[in-house]
C-alpha cells in the first residue's frame, strides 16, 4: 500500500444488496425516498479536516486548552464551536497526543469508524483491508510506506476504534514554527497527521 494509492474495493455486490434493502424499506414505508442520503449529508455537513487542524493549532498555542482536550475532548472542542453530536447521538472523542518518544496511529479494524465531523469523509485507504489488517500488526512498516520513518526508539501505539469512541491524533508542533499564528499553524496540519500516518 502506498499513501497515494487508494485501495480497490470489490463493492459491487454489497452496493446492489444495499440498494435492494433500501427499496424494500421504501416499499414498506419505513424509509422515505432519499432519506439515507439526507442522513449521510447531515452527518457529513461541516465535516472537514480543517476542524481537526483548528483543534490542533489551538492545543499548540494554548497549554490549558491542550490539557482540557486530552482530559475531555468533547467538552474542549466546544470552545471552538465544534461538536461530536452531529449523528444520531453524541460520540465520545478521545484525542491522543504524540510526544518526543511516542507516536499514535488510529484504525478501525472492524469497519471504518472515524471522526467525520473533525476530519471530513475518510480516505479510501483508511477503509482498505490492507491498512486495517496491517497497521495493528506492523505499524512501523506501514508508516514507512506512508513516508513516515520513525526512530527505532519511538514507541508506537495503535488505537483500534473497535467500539463506540472516535479517535484523533494530536501531532507534535513542528520545530521552527514559533513565529506562526494559530491560523498559519492550522494550515500545517494534514488529515494524515490527524490519523497518525504523517508526522503533522
Amino acid at each position: 500500500m502506498s499513501a497515494t494509492h487508494d485501495a480497490t474495493h470489490d463493492e459491487a455486490p454489497i452496493a446492489a444488496r444495499v440498494r435492494h434493502v433500501e427499496a424494500l424499506l421504501e416499499q414498506r414505508g419505513w424509509l422515505a425516498p432519499g432519506e439515507v442520503d439526507e442522513r449521510i449529508d447531515a452527518l457529513a455537513a461541516g465535516g472537514s479536516p480543517a476542524n481537526g487542524a483548528a483543534i490542533v493549532a489551538r492545543a499548540w498555542v494554548d497549554p490549558g486548552f491542550r490539557a482540557r482536550l486530552l482530559a475531555d475532548a468533547n467538552t474542549a472542542i466546544g470552545e471552538l464551536g465544534l461538536s461530536m453530536a452531529g449523528g444520531l447521538q453524541e460520540q465520545q472523542l478521545i484525542v491522543v497526543a504524540n510526544g518526543p518518544d511516542e507516536h499514535h496511529v488510529v484504525v478501525c479494524t472492524l469497519c471504518s469508524c472515524y471522526p467525520i465531523a473533525l476530519l471530513g469523509p475518510s480516505p479510501g485507504w483508511y477503509k482498505s483491508e490492507a491498512y486495517r489488517s496491517r497497521v495493528v500488526r506492523e505499524p512501523r512498516a506501514v508508516l514507512r510506506e506512508f513516508g513516515l520513518e520513525l526512530p527505532a526508539s519511538t514507541r508506537i501505539t495503535v488505537w483500534d476504534a473497535s467500539a463506540e469512541s472516535r479517535y484523533m491524533v494530536l501531532p507534535r508542533r513542528p520545530a521552527g514554527t514559533d513565529d506562526l499564528d494559530e491560523g498559519r499553524l492550522a494550515a500545517l496540519v494534514t488529515r494524515k497527521g490527524l490519523i497518525g500516518t504523517a508526522a503533522v
Binding site: 465520545q92 478521545i94 479494524t109 472492524l110 495493528v136 500488526r137 506492523e138 505499524p139 512501523r140 514507541r155 508506537i156 501505539t157 495503535v158 488505537w159 483500534d160 476504534a161 473497535s162 467500539a163 463506540e164 469512541s165
Partner: protein
C-alpha cells in the same frame, strides 16, 4: 450496575467466536491486556445488532503488547472493548 474494571486492571479477553455480530476483533481474543481508561457506557453491540434489548455497560480502552497479540512486534495496540468481553487476569501470561 457498577463497572467491573478500572484503569490499571489486568484483563483477559474471551475466546468465543460467536455466530453473530461482535465488536471483539478476532486478533484480540484470548489475550491479556491492561485497562487504560473507561470509554463511556453503551448497550452491547452484539445485542443491538440482533435487535435485542440491551442496557448500557462499561466500555474500556484496553492496551495490549503487540508481542502478546501477534507473537512479535514492540508496539502496543489499544482496543476498545465492551465489559462483556473481559475477565479479570491475575498476571501477565506470555505465550
Amino acid at each position: 450496575m457498577p463497572d467491573r474494571f478500572a484503569a490499571g486492571d489486568r484483563v483477559r479477553t474471551g475466546t468465543v467466536d460467536p455466530p453473530h455480530h461482535t465488536r471483539l476483533p478476532r486478533y484480540a481474543r484470548g489475550v491479556c491486556g491492561e485497562v487504560v481508561a473507561t470509554a463511556g457506557h453503551h448497550p452491547l453491540a452484539d445485542e443491538r445488532a440482533r435487535g435485542l434489548p440491551s442496557t448500557p455497560r462499561a466500555v474500556y480502552c484496553v492496551r495490549f503488547a503487540a508481542h502478546d497479540l501477534f507473537g512479535e512486534g514492540d508496539h502496543a495496540v489499544v482496543v476498545e472493548l465492551f465489559e462483556d468481553y473481559l475477565e479479570p487476569a491475575e498476571r501477565e501470561v506470555r505465550r
